[in-house]
């Protein structure tokens, strides 16, 4: 293998798990394959690994049922919350984003809901698609781009539509790391979110599609309940008997 091509092969192998990378690169060196063949081999393996992950419903669920629709809705809510804030604190009224009769209480309620929806949605995406997270992120970005093109923000800034981003990223981080939480905490969050949504709904300050955003919080309850049933404290995929598929981990023999 040429000295120029080898770094390329090593770069491509970064798509593999560390243990697998070690074994595969060693095998390629031992077999004295050409750089082109080695690259093909590595991409073939990566492709098979990804294809295997997509046999499970989790990546589909995380990407198409949570990341894509929730991003669109959360961007909508972010702009709406900003418009209400502008009206209440700076007396600037946007006719494009009417915020109706919402007062300080409803603004606080919406702000809390925005944070909770974003975190819970991010958590679900992170925990259900750890190894296919890049697809969920790509789908979210697609929804962001669509909103940025179609929404008319004036007189608000475009940045206001990204209010949800920080708690969502935090949720994804917790989800990827499988952060532990109890059934009581998950239930408290889901019940609080639902009650606040009912409150907002009663004041005609909630879009009907926003009810979809409550589902990730209830997903957390289902995950925590399932974990409790299995005697574990960490959350897991609630509707499947198997945990996330991942290549078999190989460790050094003692």
């Amino acid at each position: 293998m040429t000295a120029v091509a080898w770094p390329l092969v090593e770069l491509a192998s970064r798509l593999l798990e560390p243990d697998e990378r070690e074994a595969v690169l060693g095998d390629l060196l031992e077999a004295e394959e050409t750089a082109w063949q080695a690259l093909l081999d590595i991409f073939g393996l990566v492709l098979r690994r990804q294809a295997f992950l997509w046999k499970s419903p989790q990546p589909w669920f995380a990407g198409f049922s949570v990341a894509l629709p929730c991003t669109y809705l959360l961007m909508h809510v972010s702009v709406s919350v900003t418009a209400t804030y502008e009206r209440l604190f700076h007396h600037r009224v946007s006719t494009r984003w009417p915020t109706g009769q919402e007062g300080f209480v409803l603004l606080f309620c919406h702000f809390f809901l925005l944070m909770a929806w974003s975190w819970a949605g991010g958590y679900v995406v992170g925990s259900a698609s750890r190894r296919t997270l890049w697809v969920s992120i790509a789908l979210s970005s697609l929804a962001c781009a669509f909103c940025l093109v179609t929404f008319r923000f004036e007189p608000l800034s475009r940045f206001c539509s990204f209010l949800f981003l920080l708690p969502a990223i935090l949720g994804v981080r917790h989800g990827v790391r499988q952060a532990r939480f109890s059934f009581a905490c998950a239930s408290l969050l889901a019940v609080t979110v639902t009650l606040l949504m009912i409150f907002a709904w009663a004041h005609q300050a909630l879009w009907v599609l926003n009810w979809v955003l409550a589902l990730p919080a209830w997903y957390l309850v289902a995950a925590a309940w399932r974990s409790r049933q299995e005697g574990r404290t960490g959350p897991s995929w609630p509707f499947s008997p198997a945990p996330l598929p991942s290549p078999v981990s190989v460790r050094k023999k003692h």
Partner: protein
């Protein structure tokens, strides 16, 4: 029941014994089947067989020939031996009396 490639892989690993690891198994498969064996097919099949409990793998020693990289060693478990034997017996049974198997089994008239 095992798939064809799974059987070939288990047989190659069993034949190599203590020297069964990725590159050696691949070489053995290519030599015996006279077909190219991709790295993707090899490692995903090893993972699948390990998940089924038919193989056991671990990271072994590295050699200078491999640029100091460790080998992924493979051992066929007793369950794997049983599954391979079952597959072999099934192939033998189904092949009885067919023209291409006559010379192999010595049952030609």
């Amino acid at each position: 029941m095992l798939g064809e490639f799974e059987y070939v892989l288990i047989t190659a690993a069993a034949a190599l014994g203590d020297n069964a690891y990725g590159a050696a198994i691949r070489e053995e498969i290519e030599a015996t089947t006279r077909r190219r064996c991709s790295m993707g097919a090899l490692y995903t099949t090893i993972d699948r067989l390990e998940t089924k409990g038919l193989l056991k793998t671990w990271m072994g020693d590295s050699t200078p020939q491999r640029g100091g990289r460790a080998k992924r060693m493979v051992r066929v478990t007793s369950k794997g031996v049983h599954a391979a034997k079952e597959f072999y017996d099934a192939v033998m049974r189904v092949s009885r009396g067919v023209s291409w198997a006559e010379n192999q089994t010595g049952s030609s008239s």
